[in-house]
Amino acid sequence: MIEVRNVSKSYRRDSLRVPVLNNITISVPDGEFLALMGPSGSGKTTLLNLIAGIDRPDDGSIEVNGTNVAALSESALAQWRANNVGFIFQFYNLLPVLTAFENVELPLLLTNLPKKKRREHVEAALTLVGLADRMGHYPKQLSGGQEQRVAIARALVTDPTVLVADEPTGDLDRVSAGEVMTLLDRLNKEFKKTIVMVTHDPRAAEKAHKVMHLDKGELT
């Protein structure tokens, strides 16, 4: 359960305060697949970042599964992210110097899992996204769609309850985008992951249960 209550957020650009979110309240029940849509600068990515605990609100509170994210210290927040949230980025953001296997293993390095267990988890995650045969490949050797699937495997390897995706299909061709959306849909239905996704792409939004529109920092 994600509860966003009366959240406001503004950025300082030079001496100017630019409001980004204005008194937003939303509630996302467990197992929901929510799409956030809106024009550039509408604040959707900021809202996503706030839910994921990589940014803090100026006002209001954000509760994820009973934890008040905004109140956590920096290091507690890092710990919390590692255990509860998985991220998927528009540009995949895999580390180019690591193989697909090593990229997916990254979040597990923060746990106490023994090496053998880690290997099992990574293999399971990569099998799930259909890239078990590409484990030793470097990002450069993969297509965009494959890279994004590795990124999804990395997001779910720690078995978080919430997946957060920022334009997951924004940089992909239609076929790859379709594959990625099918995968997310499956994660939501089969594995009961709560998914919050920011997108421009109406085709991607179709897969969501619920679509919310933001404009100039407010829900419409």
């Binding site: 990589i54 255990n83 953001n93 690591l98």
Partner: protein, 388 residues
């Protein structure tokens, strides 16, 4: 473990840049080590001083003599065990304008000099021959090698302080007991000098350059120095007595301005190391802004980020530093071979190695400071937006 692995992989990302940086640091560390070696070589005489050796010279300056009669008077002072003396001969061997032809030439007393300087090792059979021949001389192994002097060779020196043409027959070659022993000197009989100068310039005979003696108890040395100097305070030739260490220190301090500028230059070198390394680390960490944000998003802590940037900086500094240190030795060796008598002893000291290694390590830490702070201050949201 993971951080280390990523550090190595990151360092190999721009192989050319990393290689250039390592080369730059290596060159700088090498010149740092070399300059420090020049500085230590300058004061080798201080290091080579025996703890209980003392020197008495004319109070006005080293260039003025002392009467021979002081010998017995000083030797009688309690606490002095063995006394000897020497005169600076100077003169010109071959072309004096070429400083490669320079080596110290001194008139000494063969019976006592080597008792006071036990670090000069002369083969006993050669010593015997040397002692019996009036114009015989002993040369150090280094200059013997450099000029090809062999036993029986004649060395001709044109005198300046003691005018005239002087021929010396090489009868012995000495070696140094320690690494720091000067092997570039030439010694001959003081009696020979004294006799010839009595004929040539009557009145200049019976003069001693300086006295050297051993104290039985090193802790009494200041008191002994005072006793000797007080004894001659009203004489025409006043004396100045010091431990050998102080005496050598006095020589070093004559060139203190040069030594100080060498030290300043070696500090500027540290600046260069820092600039080259900092430049690379700043660039690398700027390129990886997004990656750091991703790592933080996944849950990696600031400690990991510090490890990544600092680790890469230290790794490059360590490789460059190690390479530079290894290269210091052949550089110092080549210099010592090219200018064998410029510095009688030219060794890369352990202290120099430790210092150079420390400099590289500190540069590694400092170069990482600014980029690390920047990476930590950048919020995840900002970092994710950054491209390149």
């Amino acid at each position: 473990m993971f951080v280390l692995k990523l550090v190595i992989k990151n360092a190999l990302r721009h192989k050319l840049r990393t290689l250039l940086t390592i080369t730059g640091i290596a060159v700088a560390v090498m010149s740092f080590g070399f300059l420090r070696t020049v500085v230590t070589a300058w004061s080798y005489g201080v290091e080579a001083s025996a703890a209980n050796r003392m020197i008495t010279r004319n109070a006005v300056s080293f260039i003025f003599p002392l009467p021979y009669s002081y010998r017995d008077q000083i030797a009688r002072i309690p606490g002095i065990s063995q006394i000897t003396w020497a005169n600076w001969f100077g003169g010109a061997y071959k072309d004096p304008a070429d400083f490669k032809n320079f080596f110290p030439r001194m008139a000494i007393d063969p019976e006592t000099y080597f008792l006071v300087y036990p670090e000069l090792i002369v083969p006993p059979d050669q010593m015997k021959v040397f002692a019996q021949e009036r114009n015989a001389c002993i040369v150090g192994k280094k200059i013997a090698d450099q000029h090809g002097f062999k036993i029986g060779d004649v060395i001709t020196v044109e005198g300046d302080i003691y005018p005239g043409r002087w021929d010396f027959v090489v009868r012995a070659i000495y070696t140094g007991r320690d690494k720091s022993t000067d092997e570039t000197q030439m010694f001959f009989h003081w009696k020979y000098l004294d006799e010839r100068i009595r004929e040539l310039q009557p009145g200049r005979d019976g003069q001693i350059g300086w006295y050297v003696f051993l104290a039985t108890d090193a802790s009494k040395m200041p008191a002994i120095a005072q006793t000797v100097d007080e004894q001659y305070v009203n004489s025409r030739a006043g004396t100045k007595t010091e431990s050998e260490r102080e005496f050598q220190q006095g020589f070093v301090s004559m060139s203190s301005a040069i030594i100080r500028s060498l030290e300043i230059v070696s500090f500027i070198i540290i600046g260069i190391i820092l600039l080259v390394l900092a430049n690379t680390i700043v660039m690398a960490s700027r390129e990886r802004t997004t990656e750091y944000a991703v790592l933080k998003t996944i849950g990696f802590s600031p400690g990991h980020i510090i490890g990544l940037i600092g680790g890469e900086s230290l790794l490059i500094a360590a490789l460059g530093g190690a390479l530079g240190l290894v290269l210091t030795f052949p550089l110092a060796g080549a210099f010592a071979q090219m200018f064998p008598t410029f510095f009688p002893v030219f060794n890369v000291e352990t202290v120099t190695i430790i210092l150079a290694a420390t400099v590289a390590a500190v540069a590694g830490v400092v170069a990482a400071l600014f980029p690390t702070i920047r990476a930590l201050r950048t919020s995840i949201a900002e970092g994710l937006r950054a491209i390149g």
